[in-house]
Amino acid sequence: MFGRGRKIAPYLFISPFFIGYAIFFLYPVIQSLQLSFYRQVGLNKAPRFIGFDNYVRLVTKDDLFIKALTNTTYYALGSILIIVPLALLLALILHSPKLRLREFFRFLYFTPNITAGVVVGIIFGLVFEEQYGLINNLLLAPLGIDNVRWLREARWVMPAVILLGAWKWTGINAIYFMVGLQNIPPELKEAARVDGATRWQVFWHVTLPLLRPILAFVLTIAIIGSYNLFAEPAILVGLEGGPNNAGMTMTMYLYTRGFRELKMGYASAIGYSLAVIILVLSVVQLVLIRAFRED
């Protein structure tokens, strides 16, 4: 009796996690995979099995899905090509021992990250406003640049969201890079300097390769974060993505189809497409920067 109880006890102790995981994660994941092969519309209609119809429709007939995919990829590229290098640059500056008030700046760059997306969206809605907004009136007008219709003109919507993303995410990524920089032994750099390497050569041949694990982490998080982008564009331009759906991201598309039009089967198919895209991109990216290499 006792012996058996002792064997069960450890499992009982760790069971809350598994029960929670099974109910709130595993079940919905499996259920939505099943649902993605059904047509289920509305509140009380029985689902009907339709095989791959949802997926086929997504890829071949649904222009809006393709647009959401393009928009999201646009943002992902922006966030990787602008935010990540910017964060690295910022980390190098903040890492410099010569900088005064370093802790203050670190705190400052971190604060956007802990501000709720909805709050950020509302404030930036005012910042980007064309007639009365901050950017047009205080930054562009003194340079003689005409009002940019940030949230009104399709081509400016994503740049506005990327600007917002840069404001929000550069700081936290810089902190990741700083941790990486702190872990690089100073002797390595000193040795390189002694051997006559220039600053640039030290950065390119010593610092950057040693930052690779951090870079892999930051890029993976950036890709996943980009493809999950929701709150900021939703608040800035609305859940339909604003002019010409230019700000419609994949998660917004999933949300509107699923919870606004109650097409649960279709929304599940969108969700699974999104998961596959993120998985493939993350693997490709990890292979590209050779994160799996054992050196």
Partner: protein, 421 residues
Amino acid sequence: MKKLNVVLVLLASLMLFSAVAPVAAQELELWAFVNTHARWFREQAERYADEVNPDFSLNVIEIAYGDLHDRLLISIQSGGVGAPDIADVEQGRFGSFLRGGGDPGFIELNAFLDQGGHTENLVAARQALYTSMGSVYGIEHALTPVVLYYRADVWEGAGFDPQEFVTWDDFVEAGRAIVAENPDVIPLHIHGGLHELLLRQQGHDYFNADGDVTIDSAESIALMDWLLALKDEGVAGDPPAGDALWAAFKDGTLISMVGADWYGGFFKDNAPELSGKWKAAPLPAFEEGGRRTSVWGGTGAMVVKTSDHVEEALSFLEFSMLSIEGNVRRFELTTLWPPYIPAMANERLHAADEYFSGQDLGALFADVGPEAPPQWQSPFRSQLNGLRVAAWQDVIDGNRSPEEVFTEIADTIRDEMEFES
């Protein structure tokens, strides 16, 4: 083992106590998406507790427009988890609840309305918005007659009296003269609902009585072309969105508003400093003798099926939404013109409104109300609006023609209808 027994006994007694604990007060929850409605509901709840049921209390929760409907749909779909007892559902979003042809999750009100003798007291064309296959699910808040709100100081200062306008041509002519004097002013701003409500003024709509999509009708396209032509000559314009809209009203850029009764309350809430500067007139007609109003918006109060207090909720709605006092008080607080016929003749609806330069707004709504055109509900309304909103800026900017865009939207909706049939 002994310890276990003690625990079990404790647990059992706890359950027993909670089961027999008396229900002290009846607290119901209500969701609303505009503060004007919420304010009125709170006042009505207090009155109801005073006069009918002292145990009654109503928790009125204000949730943003989009969120309210999304959350309500989700909680109804999940069997009523977190759902309120009563909810305001906007007519433009009610269609989503009918998607797929199922039960929308609200209490059917036919028997309740018939028994109380209320059915014939409500304007049928408004109730149609909350009716699906003969079942009524909501009680309308407002008749939503559309009028021309205008800045009396600006128009009269320029020598025009919008009360005298008979047709839109009169309006446009006066608008031209005002713009010639002051090119920064926008006499007619093309807000997101303007095309839709003017189309209804002409007797058409985005969906017809049979539920077919008609946004690509010749009338609809011609109307949008006309608005764009007005924009080209500077009489009409594209207003800023969100909070900036109110900034544009306050700085005098926007000098009119083609809006429904509820817009009166919006003015008072969002631009109190313009009090005394506004007036309202019947809409100019498209041809002489034509209809002088339209309908725009509207919201139905509904009782959620999973509520534990259905009887009490219905009794409260009867007290507030189906009484002369409730309807009159709502007009006083929010300028919503009652869709409840017995209230229409009440003299308190004709008090001078300070905000509107002492005008008797009620007389105007009563005058144009009977002409209000019908509007048809469709499960696809909300999706059509989503598509229209996305394409709107391209149409306004002249990047794409109304014909191209409206045809595309209509085809998408027809394709959806077929996919779901």
